[in-house]
């Protein structure tokens, strides 16, 4: 057991930090074009597609290096890469199960975010019981005719392509009649309708397919083997964001502590209230444990081991931790914690004199802090970044 970073990893971290210091844009990219351009720079610097084979445009870096990049990006407040689902899950699926033609046609454009990908899995009546999906793909000889509805589709409105699970044999047992396709989202038979969430934003969409066309050459793997394909690649990218995620937590925690110094109760800062202190101590202990657990998963990934149930534990652990963290932040901040914007839309006027709004927790791509310069402003996760949506998928995959 040895938890020191290797000299190579330390040097890699230094190099990454220098690159980010020199390259992170002063203003966040806003349009899809700007975000694709930033993604492209990250890719060219070797910070996107890090685990992909070089043969397909990747960098063959280590899981630790990938985690270090995410960690440094969190520290630097760098805008995330996009196309996370494509690069994290769909690309690896094509690499493992796809044809040479599919690899040539799709992979590089996915890495460079020239084409954005979404995942067409869940349906209104097929959620955790995914295998009961009813979207059908009927063989028409040279193509499949697709009819059905998908839901909870991240990046729907900006997606050019989707990885589709559809039923190709309605008589077979439910797991055995499903096939996997690459579906062109830019065709008349595909309609994307954003779903408005209780947050007011739309990170997910519904996708309606009416006589849509999936080409035969875009069938992934063999007919009726889609379920196995979906199973084997879901765990591909575990651990990538583990360190970056914890760094975002730590940034948010220090903002919360700052707020407890500025807000007062009974004539003294909240930070001097023993009840508040006990809560802060408890949440910080949990935060640190997330970090230790992340190192544990990374170290096993680094050795080429499959972390097995550990990656499910990590996911369960941090999602529940985040909820507890936000609940605590809301308790401490009171109404300030529920503030979204002032009526006139100005952010300045939303801050009290002592500015505890700066202490509002900002996870999920919104926690921004610079190692070299502070940028206390919030940043909303927009739809193209849907794969990094709060709180389920806190950080972007690269």
């Amino acid at each position: 057991m040895d938890l020191t970073y290797s000299p190579e990893d330390r040097a890699f971290r230094e190099k990454t930090r220098r690159w980010l210091d020199a390259n992170v844009p002063k203003d966040d990219p806003k349009t899809l074009g700007e975000r694709k351009a930033w993604h492209r720079r990250l890719y060219e610097a070797g910070y996107v597609g890090m685990l992909w084979p070089k043969a397909y445009g990747g960098w063959e870096a280590t899981p630790m290096q990938q985690a270090i990049v995410q960690d440094e990006m969190a520290r630097a407040g760098a805008p995330p890469a996009i196309n996370g689902l494509g690069i994290g899950f769909i690309g690896p699926t094509i690499i493992v199960h796809g044809t040479d033609w599919q690899k040539q046609r799709y992979l590089k454009r996915m890495l460079t975010a020239e084409e954005i990908w979404c995942q067409l899995y869940s349906e209104p009546n097929a959620g955790s019981d995914l295998a009961s999906l009813t979207t059908r793909a009927d063989d028409q000889g040279d193509h499949f005719r697709v009819n059905g509805q998908k839901i909870w589709t991240s990046s729907g409105p900006i997606a050019d392509w989707g990885l589709l699970l559809a039923r190709t044999d309605s008589k077979a047992p439910k797991h055995k009649g499903i096939s996997c396709f690459l579906l062109n989202m830019r065709q008349p038979g595909v309609e994307v309708r954003p779903l408005k969430q209780i947050t007011g934003s739309s990170l997910f969409s519904e996708v309606f397919m009416t006589d849509a066309r999936a080409e035969t050459r875009d069938l992934v793997g063999n007919l009726n083997q889609g379920w196995a394909i979906a199973q084997t690649t879901l765990g591909y990218e575990r651990g990538a964001n583990s360190l970056g995620r914890v760094t975002r937590y730590a940034i948010a925690f220090s903002q919360l502590v700052k707020a407890t110094k500025e807000l007062r109760r009974g004539g003294r800062p909240l930070l001097e209230d023993p009840v508040v202190r006990a809560k802060l101590g408890k949440i910080y202990a949990e935060l640190e444990v997330q970090r230790y657990a992340a190192l544990r998963v990374l170290s096993s990934l680094q050795k080429g081991e499959s972390p097995g149930p550990a990656s499910s534990i990590t996911k369960l652990s941090y999602t529940e931790f985040e909820k507890r963290y936000f609940e605590l932040a809301l308790e401490i901040l009171g109404p300030w914690g529920q503030l979204i914007a002032a009526r006139d839309g100005s952010r300045r006027s939303t801050r009290p004199p002592a500015s505890p709004a700066r202490g509002r927790p900002r996870f999920c791509g919104r926690a921004r802090a610079r190692s070299t310069r502070a940028r206390p402003r919030s940043r909303r996760t927009s739809s193209a970044n849907a794969s990094s949506a709060c709180p389920r998928k806190c950080a972007p995959t690269a």
Binding site: V257, A278, L280, G281, A285, V289, Y292, I313
Partner: protein, 372 residues
Amino acid sequence: MDFAFSPDQQLLKNSARAFLDEHMTPAAVRLLWDDPRGESEATWKEMAQLGWLGLSLPEAYGGSALGMVESAILLEEMGRAACPGPYFPTVLAARAIEEAGSDAQKKRWLSPIATGDARATIAFLDADLDWRPDAIQTRAETTAGGWALSGRKQFVPWAHVASVLLVPAKTPDGLTLFLVDPGAAGLTLEPAQMMDPATRLASVTLEGTPVTGAAVLGKPGQAGPLLKALLSRGAVGAAAEMLGAARRCLDMAVGYAKVREQFGQPIGSFQAIRHKCAEMLLEVENSHAAVYYAAWALDAKAEDHDLAASVAKAYVGDAARRVCGEAIQVHGGIGFTWEYDLHLYVKRAKALEAMYGDADYHRELIVRRVAA
């Protein structure tokens, strides 16, 4: 970076598991519950032969000079077996003697500890049960022959079998650590009966107890930082034992859920039980990460080693309480009976929650470090 145990560490873990499975069966633990001393001399000697007592002592005193990670591995296994005995108090006291002792003191105590011929313990707590060294009220006054100690120490682990007590006391120079013979004049031991019959604690009353100048461990007035460091180490050790006890409870709960049938099927097929077990596993695995990170940080003298120790004690204390409690719930009524073995481990974890600073104490230390 490697979070997994090295082959040697894994070997140590395996041999500890094998030894304790053989010698510390639930029946053996129950026999010691009823034993006045509460420990087995034969097992103690075997532990010495296995090198456990000298595990982290310098080789010059018959030790193996291994680190806190190895200690935590052993302690986790001992917690898993609810093994009664003064193992951890003794090695923690040995650590104090090694860190602060003179050559003569080390020679006097460390070799006998490594060979299993001496036991030691530290009397941290005074009457108000405050773990902060600053809170200690026991006093030492200078006399012609050395010092006279007065005060009341509470919940001293295994004092009734100790060959030497490490007693911190206030002197005009500040907090000072003394090596005290439990048979000294003016010293009274009162064993306490605890909820965990394997945890033997005693109050120690000192009424002008005389010690010589040679009994001072380290420099007079310098005990504060040493006690804080020992508390960090104690916190990690206790967390490791709690982890072992919690994992045993989890294993028993999962095993039971697979065989106990209701409504014609194993109760483990019910989502209510499955989710409980999944949450328990989550807390046990996170506890593993917390314990071994903290142990490694102590060995590596990492910048955050004291923070990590507090995180481990605070997190694992809460987690072990929940896991052990949920294990009782998964078992239902049988889990609450004296004859079923689950309470051996539940009680071990409960007893350790309160030692070396409870979760609240360590949460306050954490806030002091990260929200100053």
